[in-house]
């Protein structure tokens, strides 16, 4: 049972990273957008393995149901309609590899050489405690987040309006 769980875990790891590679390297934007779907679902599954049930559901609801739909609409609205084969070019491909590799080496070194302090993980429902935290300790950020979402909503509508009408 434990081994099966491990096997599924590594399948989700492979799904997450593999589809992220497709997102970054596929030449067609719409394929990248659909590969992003599998990355988000893989991360949601990893949240489940980390005993974060509420976060996994929010990840699926908000990322897959909201942000990904927005991105796909963005692809359709900012490209020639009727062609699903929108090619996309890349620039500075080899120069960009230098900082990526340097940061990668630094991250790898930090991750593998730090003696992490570990506690015994506990698996219990998190929704109640998370809601309690949001309304006590994180009350101010929570309210600020609602103001931010309102501002983003109004701002996005104002920005995306057809602006030639006001000229």
């Amino acid at each position: 049972m434990e081994q099966l769980s491990q096997l599924i875990f590594y399948c989700f790891v492979a799904l997450t990273i593999g589809s992220a590679i497709v997102v970054v390297f596929h030449r067609r934007v719409i394929y990248s957008a659909f590969a992003l779907l599998f990355t988000f679902i893989g991360v949601a599954a990893l949240y489940l393995y980390l005993a974060a049930d509420f976060l996994a559901v929010s990840q699926v609801l908000i990322y897959v149901g909201g942000i990904l739909i927005l991105i796909i609409f963005g692809v359709f609205l900012t490209a020639r309609i009727m062609s699903l084969q929108i090619p996309q070019e890349t620039h500075q491909r080899y120069i960009a590899l230098i900082p990526v590799i340097l940061i990668g080496i630094a991250l790898l070194w930090v991750i593998l050489s730090t003696p992490w302090e570990l506690v015994t993980p506990q698996v219990e429902p998190t929704t109640k405690e998370l809601g309690f935290l949001l309304l006590t300790r994180y009350l101010v950020p929570f309210e600020l987040a609602s103001v931010l979402l309102l501002a983003a909503l109004v701002g996005a509508m104002r920005l995306a309006r057809y602006f030639r009408a006001e000229e």
Binding site: V23, L50, A52, L55, I62, I67, G104, L130, P141
Partner: protein
């Protein structure tokens, strides 16, 4: 290899892929996808540390706020891209040089 390390490695590779997308892609929507990858990797890190080395839920609350910020950012960014597309008839980030003087 402890499983915290596995999560950290997954998160690091997501971050690096997102960074690569942000730096190399020309299409603005693809750059946005790279940013989403980076935000996801940060959230995964928060939740992994919350699970393995803190014993409380503060990391999960931080990851929740990351999801909120990502939603707001995606909406505003796509509105900006729509405007850019109307102005320049392309979604190439190199064309967005109106403030260059």
């Amino acid at each position: 290899m402890h499983s915290l390390t596995v999560y950290l490695l997954v998160s690091a590779s997501l971050f690096l892929l997102g960074l690569l997308a942000v730096m190399t892609r020309k299409n603005a929507v693809s750059v946005l996808m790279g940013i989403e990858l980076i935000l996801n990797s940060a959230g995964l890190n928060f939740v992994a540390f919350s699970h393995f080395s803190s014993g409380n839920l503060n990391g999960q609350a931080a990851a929740l706020f990351i999801i909120i910020i990502a939603a707001a950012e995606a909406a505003v960014a796509l509105a900006i891209f729509l405007n850019l597309y109307r102005l320049k008839a392309s979604s190439d980030v190199n064309q967005a040089d109106l403030l260059q003087g």
